[in-house]
């Protein structure tokens, strides 16, 4: 049964790599959410965090590729020893961090690991180290010989997942994030996405014939609304047609207004029914 640790450890390593690298790419920095690298000098944090990502990816991939190898083969043994060392070092680093930087998260899963290092995270790292240790002389991974063995393997994996989840403060962070959506006024929405939403709207189809160009002359944002201004001609007079696109997502409301160019007075909407509010 020791060989079932291979998919478990592989999953932990690859998930850790994905979460860390995603956070690194998003923030383009390495801060206290990157765990033990927060104890490094400022200039070394990002390279250290990037190196940790690469090591996790390499070991996770290596563990998977050597899953069917005999444990005594040099490649397989090297990978398994390295995995054991990684989790062992991690457990030690977390123990030190808890004493020296008690406010810092473990950084194991990027920005999800912001909870200060506690005993649960340390126990998790120790258990993973023990699991890696058990792999050192484990037989190659193989298909279960019988249905009974398959159920036993499945039960073992489920049991391990439950234990890992119970020891992971990241689960509550993940649940919190999945149940939370930033309100539209603080959500980042690209101008290209706003223009796509505008071009798909009935307002655009209705007013497009008045526009001189489909390139906006001005774009700005005010909270949940992004405004796009286009030069146009209406009744032989130059006008500015301004669209307000709500940033709440697909099918969001689009409103429109028309102003005579060079004057300070809004012009009466030529298509009043189109601008129902």
């Amino acid at each position: 049964m020791r060989e079932v640790q291979i998919p478990m450890l592989t999953a932990m390593l690859i998930t850790g790599f994905a979460a860390k690298s995603s956070y690194l790419m998003q923030t383009r920095t390495a801060d206290a959410r990157m765990g033990p690298t927060a104890t490094f000098p400022l200039g070394s944090r990002r390279p250290a965090a990037a190196a940790l990502c690469v090591i996790e990816l390499a070991l996770g991939t290596g563990l998977l590729l050597t899953a069917t190898y005999d444990w005594a083969s040099p490649v397989s043994l090297a990978v398994r020893v390295a995995v054991t060392l990684l989790f062992g070092t991690g457990a030690g680093a977390l123990w030190v961090m808890r004493a020296r930087r008690p406010e810092t998260g473990c950084g194991c899963f990027g920005e999800l690991s912001i909870t200060p290092v506690g005993w649960r995270v340390i126990v998790r790292a120790v258990l993973l180290c023990l699991a890696a240790l058990a792999l050192l002389d484990a037989p190659p991974l193989h298909m279960p010989a019988s249905a009974g063995q398959a159920w036993l393997t499945l039960g073992l994996i489920v049991g391990e997942i439950v234990v890992i989840m119970a020891l992971s403060p990241e689960v509550s962070q993940l649940m919190l994030r999945l149940s939370h959506a930033d309100p539209c006024e603080v959500r980042e929405v690209s101008a290209a996405r706003t223009q796509s939403a505008l071009h798909a709207s009935a307002m655009w189809r209705r007013y497009r014939r008045f526009l001189v160009t489909t390139d906006p002359a001005d774009i700005w944002r005010e909270g949940c609304w992004r405004f796009l201004v286009y030069p146009g001609v209406l009744s032989s007079r130059p006008v500015e047609v301004v669209f307000a696109v709500h940033l709440s997502g697909r099918g969001a409301p689009v409103r429109v207004g028309v102003v005579d160019t060079g004057t300070s007075l809004p012009r009466r909407d030529p298509l009043p029914l189109s601008n129902a509010v």
Binding site: R28, P183, W220, R221, G223, W225, V229, V258, P266
Partner: protein, 323 residues
């Protein structure tokens, strides 16, 4: 006092917005950006009872009264001022039927402020990256060294600094700390809490001021900490800042109220408040501000709203047009 180009820009956007929504154009234009009680210029002459200033409106005269307060690194007498000193005056008109008679209430001479990240340190001299503005050179005045060291215990590269002092040819002579130093490195401010529902308006926090750098000296406006990243084309330096505020654009208008003086004004956003995002501090004038920096005002706007430049901040409420 005001900058016509920027004013036209935000007025035009307000007009275009009103063409769509209609309902609140007048409300938002009721308090246009103007600083009728602020004068900024070079000192031409000073006597016991009057002061002459060369401003962008020409030569202006101001009466001095026994209650006039003058600052030149510390409280001083108006006669300590010298020809050519850059001066900021907040004045009042004691008789409405004599608008040309103006009495100076507060005078600040040579005042400057540097806020940013320490790039290099040589004893009591520091080079500071002022986040988007030119690098600034600070010399800490010997008499203020202890006071600044207490509020800024880590005067080392990578840490934040915010000091007020007097401007000299190539440096700022720091005489007072503008805040207390945040314990974190620049760019590593703690993330603000997640927002449930919409951002509540108005937002109460701290309003600070900055010196013009490439902006007209009398510009009325503010640096806003949450400029739409699409406008700047980059991810915000230092993250989203300590206060979650609605994303706005340059030229958008916000309403700022000084909770200490009761004065309020509509102001256009004239630049990105990168420095304001970095500081998760509180203003402690007339109580402690509930949140960190919500606005980094230009000098003219700060003084017009009743702020004292040497204090560095006032408690403010910010209202935006969102929803």
């Amino acid at each position: 006092m005001g900058d016509s180009a920027s004013s036209d820009w935000h007025v035009r956007r307000s007009l275009l917005r009103a063409a769509v929504f209609g309902q609140d154009y007048e409300h938002w234009m009721r308090e246009p950006a103007a600083a009728p009680s602020v004068a900024i210029g070079m000192l031409v002459d000073v006597r016991e009872d009057s002061l002459v200033l060369d401003t962008d409106r020409g030569t202006e005269f101001f009466e001095l009264s026994p209650t006039t307060e003058t600052w030149l690194g510390a409280r001083t007498s108006p006669t300590a001022l010298r020809f050519g000193d850059p001066v900021i005056i907040r004045h009042r008109t004691p008789h409405t039927d004599l608008p040309e008679r103006r009495v100076a209430e507060r005078i600040w001479a040579r005042i400057g402020r540097v806020a940013g990240t320490i790039v290099d340190a040589y004893g009591s001299e520091f080079l500071v990256d002022a986040h988007g503005r030119d690098r600034q050179y600070i010399v800490v005045a010997p008499a203020a060294s202890r006071q600044i060291q207490v509020r800024f215990p880590r005067l080392a590269p990578g840490y934040l600094i915010d000091v007020i002092g007097t401007r000299h040819r190539d440096h700022l002579l720091a005489v007072t700390p503008a805040t207390a130093q945040p314990p974190y490195h620049a760019g590593h401010s703690p993330a603000p809490p997640m927002v449930n529902g919409h951002v509540a308006m108005p937002v109460s926090g701290s309003a600070v001021w900055h010196e013009p750098d490439g902006e007209p000296s009398g510009l009325l406006g503010l640096s806003y900490p949450a400029i739409d990243p699409e406008e700047t084309g980059t991810q915000p330096v230092g993250g989203t800042g300590c206060v979650r505020l609605p994303y706005l654009s340059l030229g958008s208008s916000v309403r700022i109220r000084n909770e200490c003086s009761g004065r309020a004004a509509m102001l256009p956003i004239t630049s990105e408040g990168v420095t304001a995002r970095q500081f998760c501090d509180r203003c402690v004038k007339c109580g402690t501000s509930p949140k960190g920096r919500v606005a980094d005002l230009t000098v003219a706007a700060f003084v017009e709203l009743g702020g004292s430049l040497e204090d560095g901040c006032f408690n403010a409420t910010l209202t935006t047009r969102t929803g």
